[in-house]
């Protein structure tokens, strides 16, 4: 009798789990709200245990850096030299741009505002690519904002709690970003598939992306503004082009959530059943 009861309770729980999976499809809004609540509740604990992890990581990192100090110095000196020249060029171009814009009465994009947040969890697993950061609604984070780290786009905000939020990385299966190729100005869709290198989709026949070419957001769909760097074309064969994200996604400590002040914008979200949307 007890064994039967036990078996029945297990069966019930298996069914409940399957029921929960179904519910994600039926009422994703409710599930999202629940996720935000729970993440909020655990954010302080996650933030607390992320600190020593960060410290350990930085110790490992500094040990690694010590060994390469000389070579790194040399490289930086050369880089600096080269970048100084670029700076001069950039300044000249900026001035020229400004004067040309003045001539055209060009209406600039609204100014962007940034929220910087610490990464407190990297839930990992084989199926999802998300980060949890310590900033939420009360800090001005909104769903759909672009997430950047260093110089490039890493993803977008998909879930916002009161003081924590979740970022869907560009490598996640559900991530779709409209992009444009640097040299050909060809539009494409950067589509994650849970691998390290997202795929470029919807490139017309005959357009061959070159390896090493940079990929920028195109601004189509209004989710991201145009011209933010996303990645570099890594390899292309059999009509399949892979892109390496410009930021090393496994080493993000701080994230900048960017509010570009563009209205609307959720239209470009490609709805995928199941995971985070």
């Amino acid at each position: 009798m007890r064994a039967l009861l036990q078996r029945f309770s297990f069966l019930l729980m298996v069914l409940a789990a399957i029921g929960l999976m179904m519910m994600t499809r039926v009422d994703p809004v409710f599930i999202d709200a629940a996720r935000a609540r729970v993440t909020d509740a655990f954010a302080p604990i996650l933030g607390f245990i992320a600190r020593p992890a960060g410290a350990v990581a930085s110790v490992l990192e500094s040990g690694h850096q010590l060994t390469a100090l000389y070579a790194e110095n040399q490289r930086l000196r050369e880089d600096n030299e080269r970048l100084r020249q670029w700076q001069q060029t950039a300044l000249r171009l900026e001035a020229e741009n400004n004067s040309l814009r003045g001539l055209l009465a060009y209406k600039p994009d609204p100014a962007a505002s940034y929220i910087t947040a610490r990464v407190i969890a990297d839930p990992g697993g084989a199926f999802v690519r998300t980060l949890v950061v310590m900033a939420g609604q009360r800090d001005g984070v909104r769903r759909g904002q672009a997430a950047m780290a260093g110089q490039g786009v890493i993803g977008r905000v998909v879930q916002v709690g009161e003081w924590s939020s979740r970022i869907l990385l560009v490598t996640d299966l559900n991530a779709r970003i409209p992009v444009v190729l640097e040299t050909t100005r060809q539009r494409a869709m950067l589509s994650g598939d849970n691998s390290d290198q997202p795929r470029l989709m919807y490139i017309p026949r005959g357009v061959e992306p070159t390896v090493g070419e940079r990929v920028f957001t195109s601004g189509h769909g209004g989710l991201f503004p145009a011209g933010l760097p996303v990645g570099i074309v890594a390899a292309t064969h059999d009509g399949e082009t892979r892109v390496t994200p410009i930021v090393d996604l496994s080493r993000i400590e701080y994230v900048q959530l960017v509010d570009f002040g563009i209205p609307g914008g959720l239209a470009a979200e490609a709805a995928q059943p199941g995971g985070m949307q």
Partner: protein, 169 residues
């Protein structure tokens, strides 16, 4: 009388060790370690904890707790809701039916048992996820994760057994 209360509190604290270590294992598993490619194949510490306690103290880590921890992990981790819960309940079930083989035998048996559970859990997750997203996900990460979990299992298992011996025997 006062001693009675303290004793009972102490006992309650000790009895909550299996549950609290499992939750702690889940939270530790979410730590951003900033190791390249680590988070894709991060070993499932929660599964290890559930496996260990389901074998040694199923009276203290009940099946519904495994279910609850799974739901919590899905909510926190962003994975499809119910997926981890399903895996943990199935793993618990499997362990409970085969418990007498693992219990009392050498550590090798414990390890072997975990290897089976880890592979099974990976397979269930993979099938569930592929069905839910209607998209055949590459099995590479799942396989790597299961292998890493099997290789690393002795470390968390040693920690759990230390806690087990010092607090619960």
């Amino acid at each position: 009388m006062a001693v009675g209360i303290w004793q009972r509190l102490d006992q309650a604290g000790r009895n909550s060790v299996p549950f609290s270590t499992t939750v702690a294992a889940m939270l530790v598993g979410m730590m951003p370690l900033q190791l390249p490619d680590y988070s894709f194949v991060a070993p499932p510490l929660t599964l290890m904890a559930i496996y260990y306690w389901a074998i040694y103290r199923p009276d203290l880590l009940k099946p519904y707790m495994a279910f609850g921890i799974g739901v919590l992990q899905d909510l926190l981790g962003g994975s499809p809701l119910g997926m981890s819960a399903l895996v943990y309940v199935l793993a618990y079930w499997l362990v409970l039916t085969q418990r007498r083989y693992f219990l009392g035998n050498s550590f090798w048996f414990l390890w072997l048992g975990f290897a089976l559970v880890a592979v099974g859990a990976g397979a269930v997750q993979w099938v569930a996820y592929s069905l839910m997203t209607a998209h055949l996900v590459g099995p590479g990460n799942v396989v790597a994760q299961a292998l890493l979990a099997i290789v690393l299992f002795p470390v968390p298992a040693w920690c759990f057994s230390k806690l087990h011996r010092s607090l619960l025997s």
